[in-house]
Amino acid sequence: MTHAHHDHDHDHHHDHDHSELSPIELRVRALESILVEKGYVDPAAIDALVETYETKVGPRNGARVVAKAWADSDYRAWLLRDATAAIASLGFMGRQGEHMVAVENTPEEHNLVVCTLCSCYPWPVLGLPPVWYKSAPYRSRAVIDPRGVLAEFGVTLPATTRIRVWDSTAEMRYLVVPMRPEGTEGWSEEALADLVTRDSMIGTGLPLRPEQVVRS
């Protein structure tokens, strides 16, 4: 297994080294932590509710990025070379202007992104993060045994496919470009985007197959 896991304890320090929460995030965290402390809500129940209702995973801008990369080889090359610019060209920006890196799945190599419970997750591009994604066990297990974690998500890869694990850093956020499903020749970018799930852009899932989508 190739390892691209970065340690977050960088030996260089700069102004953006610490985390930051927006005023609205502070308000939500403040209220939730008080409610939890006083026993009015159970954090696990909140997580479960979020998971239940977050089926509309935000803007899903990343799905359009992936679909365009599948349909347009020039765009794909640009995305792999300079994802920040290629994604911005579609009008999608990160909250903090973070750098994005696109990593492409191939028959030889599968990419899996892990994160911590921080603000690294580029939700304007990927949509809302899955609740489990923030859990420490997922992260550490994904680093130690990515193939086993993928199997739990129902993703079984050929033994010959290498798995690379990527961890967000202060500087880098990752977008996985999954392999284009077979049987989608000639599809429009819009139709292709419907196949791109959030989990496929994290690497914990594969895109939908054509037969899994109801085409109108």
Partner: protein, 129 residues
């Protein structure tokens, strides 16, 4: 996932919850989903009724409109959160002062947390044990 009827009707009487074509709510940021989930959890706990919720939300929206809110839907969950905070205060669950102090604690905690690490309240350098 469709919305609980009580919540849907309560919100619809004030301002309908933003939803996608399939009826599921659409959140534009993680915090919006958290504010939504907290409301459901507190309702299930019996802290307020849906008509009470509708009244609180209506009051916040009215207040915001008087203050020049764009009224284009982009601030929907901002009003939602304000309504939730106000209800929590009225029900004696969390006073405004508690909220403000806790927000400051989270802010200190975030600033004391290296990027890439989980932001935990314990990271607040002023946290008392």
């Amino acid at each position: 996932m469709s919305l609980p009827d009580g919540l849907r009707d309560a919100a619809a009487s004030v301002a309908p919850i933003p939803r996608g074509e399939d009826g599921a709510p659409v959140f534009r940021a993680p915090w919006e989903a958290q504010a939504f989930a907290m409301t459901l959890a507190l309702y299930e706990r019996g802290l307020f009724t849906w008509p009470e919720w509708a009244a609180a939300l209506a009051a916040e929206i009215k207040r915001a409109q008087a203050a020049g809110d764009p009224d284009d839907g982009s601030t929907y969950y901002l009003h939602w959160l304000s309504a939730l905070e106000r209800l929590a205060g009225e029900k004696g669950v969390a006073s405004e002062r508690e909220l403000v102090e806790r927000q400051a604690a989270w802010d200190r905690a975030a600033r004391a947390t290296p990027h890439g690490r989980p932001i935990l309240l314990e990271n607040d350098p002023e946290a008392r044990r």
